[in-house]
């Protein structure tokens, strides 16, 4: 019984939140990694791209709520995400046409593109704040819990409850669907294969008649889908504030680099590595250990390795350690 209680506490406070957060990070990191693999630069504007996608989703959600359209127990935002994706795609294609294409044709050094993306980050950040303002926005509706702590206790008779939020469930399910679809696309379709070929060896891909403009366009479209979905899910699960997405850029980069920049599989693994270590290292283990250890060893402190405020610091420490020992990440990333 004690063992079960310990597992439930751990699931409630560590496993489920980390799984949801890891899914959001993985979706973000996939976008970063695709841009790095195909367009060959680290996109500093990715966090704000996510914010833009989330913002459009929120606006459309409000519109739907105003019209009385809803999904019953599910949040209305799910209906609005496709609109968020479409708007983000339009934004990214415009940005590419106006800004990035010039440097691609010039064959500019990757580092110049990074600096350019800093400018794009400023503009997108300003745009989002300009349209929706800098404040916290709530847009979740429908059922709050798939199972609440009280129901779980009644159901199992355990003394610890397990709460599973709808948004967490949706995040995890959506992430799985998106990742499966992405891998199917990259491995099975013609366009996907040409994208991988382009990423592996640009010259060879060009020689074999792959149209680079098309590859670039498809990449931005996929990135728009990933970014808007990740942004909306994060906003739904936590809360939407424009500046939070700038902060989120850092763990996303960490996830992509830890997994190996340019490697989609690595991005997913990296996302979960970062999420689990952030949550686990800053979680006070007192209650879990209290159930597991015999009474006289029960800890009298919180048994928290680091204070919660160091969440982001944890992801960077992991990032730096990985960079030092495996400069191309856990899975083999590419180097420019």
């Amino acid at each position: 019984m004690d063992l079960l209680n310990a597992v439930v506490v751990l699931s409630n406070y560590v496993l489920i939140p980390a799984l949801a957060y890891g899914s959001q990070l993985a979706l973000g990191a996939l976008g970063v990694t695709l841009i790095y693999g195909i367009l060959r630069f680290s996109n500093f504007a990715h966090g704000d791209t996510m914010a833009f996608g989330a913002m459009v989703t929120i606006l459309v959600t409000w519109l739907f709520q105003g019209w009385g359209i809803s999904l019953g127990p599910l949040p209305t935002a799910l209906l609005a995400i496709p609109f968020g994706i479409a708007a983000t795609a339009a934004l990214l294609l415009t940005t590419d046409r106006l800004v990035y294409r010039f440097y691609r044709q010039q064959k500019a050094a990757p580092v110049i593109l990074v600096i350019v993306s800093m400018g794009v980050m400023f503009v997108m950040n300003g745009l989002v704040r300009f349209i929706i303002g800098p404040n916290d926005q709530r847009f979740s509706d429908g059922e709050r819990f798939i199972i609440s702590a009280r129901e779980f206790k009644k159901l199992t008779g355990l003394s610890e409850g397990l709460a599973f939020k709808t948004t967490q469930g949706i995040t995890i399910v959506t992430a799985v669907i998106v990742v499966v679809a992405l891998f199917w696309f990259l491995n099975r379709t013609r366009t996907g294969k040409s994208m991988r070929a382009f990423s592996d060896n640009e010259d060879l891909a060009l020689l074999s008649g792959i149209n680079p403009d098309r590859v670039v366009m498809v990449t931005w479209l996929i990135v728009a889908g990933l970014a808007a979905t990740a942004g909306a899910l994060y906003g739904l699960d936590k809360s939407f504030k424009p500046f939070i997405y700038l902060q989120l850029l850092l763990p996303i980069f960490a996830a992509a680099v830890v997994g190996g920049l340019g490697n989609p599989l690595g991005a997913i693994a990296g996302g979960f590595v970062i999420a689990f270590s952030e949550v686990l290292i800053t979680y006070p283990l007192k209650k879990v250990l209290g159930y597991l250890l015999p009474d006289r060893f029960e800890p009298d402190t919180l048994v928290q390795l680091l204070s919660t405020d160091y969440k982001f610091a944890v992801s960077f420490t992991i990032l730096i350690i990985v960079l030092l020992f495996r400069p191309t990440g856990l899975f083999k990333g590419k180097s420019v």
Partner: protein, 444 residues
């Protein structure tokens, strides 16, 4: 040497912009822009040293600026004697233990033969050391933070002026070079570990490290009071109230027909401007000398072709470390100066958009590789940073003048003027990179 009229014209233009602010808005605003422009110019010089001279992509400027600010507190505030008595030694012992753990682990990595034995020993040392460090350190921190948490709750600084520590304003001047040293020390640590990385990875690593520095400053209350902020740092210039109470000052100002209250704050700001100008001139002269020296030539050679420079026997890694430390130290000095100007340290105010990316905009717009360009960029971009908002407000008033008073769109546009700042900065950066990639004052 030929006189470059275009460059002189650009500097003249910026001077006119700031003077114009004085005439149109207020001299207080103009002097605020001037002072922050001076500080920004110094930061931009530091970044230009790293990026313009050596091609090092450092996106962690915020961290070094914040370290400078920390130095200002640690030097110029009085020590909290009770806190030192309660847990000061224990905190220091904890830090020493932590450092010893890391050093031992590094030594083991260097001395032992590679293999599972080495890995296991390292892990054992790190884990054991961590718990030992926490056991000693946590108690000390709790003791320090318990001392008058509402008023101090931190160890304080090195100002031994006692009750009249505010008269020891010169301590803040000492903190400026100390800020540089502190930033240099941390830059050495970071450089030793991260400089082997390629440009993209280096950028992400420095970005992360600067966030860690801010996280530490926000949460380690014993060090700098964390988010409770340290306020009322001593000043190297007189206080407005002192001037207003001084008979001589009132006599002088009334003789000139000025209001003593306004003019006292202007005199104080001018005092800062004088001190900051001295620092800027020193840094600028040193940077110019460095650029023209064989050392500067070598740096540019490394920047332009790392492999060729290495083949010619230049130690690229060592040179990169050197210039990383120098550039970061300059940012540290600027950070200490800024905290002195604010006379308070607020760790939560450090945002990467403002303290890292904006400095990058200054360097790129000014012209990377040219010191005068960085100085110009520092002043111009900070001027815009302050003035875009009022300019945007005027623009919006004109744009919406045809709409009804209570039009929703009109109200929203007027409300959102504050956010035009980031948009404009981004547009400037993108446009400059596209149409004048060498910046306003290109490298020679």
């Amino acid at each position: 040497m030929t006189i470059n009229y275009k460059n002189i014209g650009l500097f003249f233009l910026v001077a006119c912009l700031i003077l114009g602010t004085g005439f149109v808005q207020s001299w207080n605003t103009a002097l605020f822009i001037l002072n922050m422009g001076l500080v920004s110019a110094i930061m931009a010089l530091g970044v230009n040293l790293q990026w313009g001279f050596a091609g090092l992509f450092n996106v962690g400027i915020m961290g070094f600026v914040a370290l400078g600010g920390l130095a200002a507190v640690l030097i110029s505030m009085p020590p909290t004697t009770e806190a030192w008595a309660a847990g000061g030694l224990r905190v220091i012992l904890g830090i020493v233990l932590g450092a010893a753990t890391v050093t031992t682990a590094i030594l083991v990595q260097l001395r032992m033969a590679a293999g599972p034995a080495r890995t296991l020993t390292t892990i054992a040392i790190l884990i054991g050391g961590f718990f030992l460090y926490r056991a000693v350190f946590d108690g000390g921190v709790a003791a320090v933070e318990a001392v008058d948490a509402a008023g101090t709750g931190y160890l304080g600084g090195l100002n031994f002026g006692g009750a009249s520590y505010k008269d020891w304003g010169f301590m803040t001047l000492i903190s400026w070079p100390v800020g540089g040293l502190l930033a240099a020390g941390v830059a050495w640590l970071i450089g030793k570990t991260a400089l082997g990385l390629r440009s993209d990875y280096l950028a992400i690593a420095t970005l992360g490290i600067s966030e860690i520095i801010i996280a530490v400053m926000k949460n380690e209350d014993w060090l700098s009071r964390g988010v409770k902020n340290v306020i009322g740092l001593p000043r190297p210039v007189p206080y407005e109230i002192e001037l207003q109470e001084s008979a001589g000052f009132i006599e002088h100002t009334t003789a000139l027909g000025l209001d003593p209250v306004t003019s006292s704050s202007i005199v104080v700001k001018l005092g800062y401007a004088g001190l900051f100008s001295i620092v800027l001139v020193i840094v600028l002269i040193l940077a110019q000398l460095a650029l023209a020296s064989p050392w500067g030539r070598m740096m540019r050679a490394i920047r332009d072709n790392e492999e060729a420079a290495e083949a010619m026997g230049k130690n690229v890694t060592a040179r990169h470390l050197q210039i990383f430390i120098l550039g970061s130290a300059i940012c540290g000095v600027a950070g200490a100066m800024m905290t002195t100007l604010d006379s308070q340290l607020t760790p939560s105010s450090y945002q990467p958009l403002r303290f890292t990316f904006l400095v990058w905009v200054m360097v790129i717009v000014g012209g990377s590789g040219n010191n005068f360009g960085s100085v110009l960029g520092g002043f111009l971009i900070f001027f815009l940073w302050v003035q875009v908002e009022p300019m945007g407000a005027i623009l919006m008033q004109i744009l919406t003048s045809g709409m009804a008073e209570d039009n929703v769109l009109r109200l929203h546009l007027l409300d959102s003027v504050a956010h035009m700042r980031l948009l404009t900065m981004g547009l400037i950066l993108i446009l400059v990179l596209r149409f004048a990639p060498k910046g306003l004052i290109p490298e020679k």
